[in-house]
């Protein structure tokens, strides 16, 4: 390859150069104009913040001395943590029954089967904890907000920089890359992740599944995340993926052959995690289904070069961000944890 002029002006591309010459006259060159005076906003905020803090302290002191029966010690309205509200009855926070308050770091929030809880995730989003679930706030700060879902299910919607919001389950870790998703700990201990917007990574040990909008993945026993499949995937194709995830190497060839245009992310995950000998066949099928840009070299992809693998992922998933944000209905099967999801 002789360079990529469109990207970094290396090599040649006469048509791009001609367009540059044609349009370059429209480039912006004006200096910065006069700036308006700045308001003393920071000072005003500090002053306002002080007033608010004093008022909040008064309210908290009143709340604590009032000692409401519905708010157990440690999960009251004040302090650092995530605010929550129980729906349909009382949840248990820090061991006591309550209909709402603040979930402090290190404390578990548990919902009875017929009660759900709305939890505010700092200033980046919110989640709904289904009935029959237990969620612990492990950490919260500017670098990371981390929760542990011991059992049950949650549905989260977060708007934040990638990797700021993390949920651990007994089998895996869900790492938000900017999205909305459903996460469930199944009765048999496996974890199922279904993404309704954006992208989420599901990690366990060295294995990593990159799960995009409209895809779902379940951890395989003792094998970490399985291979993500489209929620709308053909059941026969899903069965082949299940066989492959369970360790049946003979499932790979029919799986690759059966993959359709809606299964390119499944193939990418296979490519990223498969042994080198399996990659040429996976890439060949991907090339049949999706026009690979010439700057993504087959040799580098087959060799598993991380930059190439990541580049192909970005090519395949760019539509995830460009697509309309109409979320599909929650694709978690209602019988996966019967009676506890509203």
């Amino acid at each position: 390859m002789s360079g990529d002029y469109l990207w970094d002006r290396s090599g040649e591309d006469p048509e791009v150069a001609r367009l540059e010459g044609l349009l370059g006259g429209l480039a912006h060159a004006a200096p910065l104009g006069p700036l308006p005076p700045r308001r003393g906003r920071r000072r005003a905020l500090l002053l306002g913040g002080s007033v608010v803090a004093i008022a909040a302290a008064v309210v908290v002191a009143w709340w604590v001395t009032r000692a409401p029966a519905s708010s157990p010690a440690g999960c009251g309205a004040g302090g650092a943590g995530f605010a929550f509200t129980a729906r349909g009855g009382a949840a248990r926070c820090g061991g006591g029954a309550t209909t709402g308050g603040v979930l402090p770091v290190g404390t578990a929030l548990a919902t009875p089967p017929d009660v759900t809880a709305e939890v505010v995730v700092a200033d980046i989003g919110a989640l709904t904890l289904a009935g029959g679930s237990e969620l612990t706030l492990a950490a919260t700060g500017t670098a990371q907000h981390r929760l542990r879902l011991a059992h049950g299910r949650l549905s989260a919607r977060v708007t934040a920089p990638p990797r700021l919001f993390i949920v651990d389950t007994p089998a895996a870790t869900a790492i938000d890359l900017g999205c909305a998703y459903d996460l469930a700990v199944l009765p048999d201990g496996r974890t199922r992740l279904t993404v309704t917007e954006g992208v989420v990574e599901l990690a366990a040990g060295p294995r990593l599944a990159h799960v995009t909008r409209g895809h779902t993945v379940t951890t395989a026993a003792d094998r970490g995340p399985g291979t993500p499949i489209a929620v709308a995937a053909d059941p026969a194709f899903a069965a082949l993926v299940g066989r492959w995830d369970a360790g049946d190497a003979a499932a790979l060839a029919p799986l690759v052959a059966a993959a359709g245009a809606g299964d390119t992310l499944t193939l990418w995950n296979l490519l990223a995690n498969a042994a080198p000998a399996a990659r040429p066949a996976i890439l060949a099928r991907l090339d049949e289904l999706f026009p690979r840009p010439e700057w993504l070299l087959a040799d580098e992809l087959v060799a598993g070069k991380p930059e190439a693998i990541a580049g192909l992922r970005d090519v395949l998933t760019s539509g995830v961000w460009l697509a309309p944000v109409d979320a599909p209905p929650s694709p978690i099967a209602p019988d996966a944890n019967p009676g506890v999801w509203r």
């Binding site: 910065l32 970005d314 961000w321």
Partner: protein, 179 residues
């Protein structure tokens, strides 16, 4: 001090500008004004796009305190640019917009105007990225830094957008007859 400002990272410049440094803000303008112009040019004509650039930076100066994470400045600025450009486009009556569309000096050639129209007819992600590359002269890595997108995403947008643009600018195939 001037050298320190010139060499500073974007996050350092944002923090300094939040503290009131005109020099830091002027340096930020130098790094971002072409990207902001491209975002505006994707939605309004060149004359209005230049106004949008000044408007965006004047607002950014007065609202910098709302940027809590300096590393998020690029995304914040681009969002503001999109919103201001959309507001500007909505404020123009259709006839007025047409009259101002290419009211810049020197006026672009007919071929340039056609190319600009073709780019502006592309999907948004391709449109902005191609304008940054072909009009403003930013390289792919520079576009990634200015927009907060990953380099791989910018590369995808550039190549996909350019493929579409080539198709749309290609002369129609002749029908019938032999060469």
């Amino acid at each position: 001090m001037a050298a320190a400002v010139v060499d500073a990272t974007i996050a350092e410049l944002v923090v300094a500008a939040q503290a009131g440094s005109h020099a830091a803000f002027t340096t930020l303008y130098g790094r971002f004004h072409r990207a902001v112009h491209a975002v505006a040019l994707a939605r309004v004509g060149p004359a209005d796009a230049a106004d949008v650039v000044q408007d965006v930076f004047a607002r950014a100066w007065t609202r910098l305190d709302s940027v809590r994470d300096p590393a998020a400045f690029a995304g914040w600025l681009m969002t503001m640019a999109r919103n201001r450009a959309i507001d500007r486009a909505r404020s123009r009556a259709p006839d007025d917009a047409g009259a101002r569309e290419l009211a810049v000096a020197p006026a672009p050639t007919a071929e340039a105007a056609a190319a600009l129209r073709a780019i502006r007819a592309l999907p948004e992600a391709y449109r902005e990225t191609l304008l940054m590359r072909l009009v403003e002269g930013l390289s792919g890595p520079e576009i990634a830094e200015r927009t907060g997108l990953t380099p791989a995403s910018v590369r995808v947008n550039l190549h996909r957008g350019m493929t579409l643009l080539r198709e749309r600018l290609a002369p129609p195939e002749s029908t019938g007859g032999t060469p």
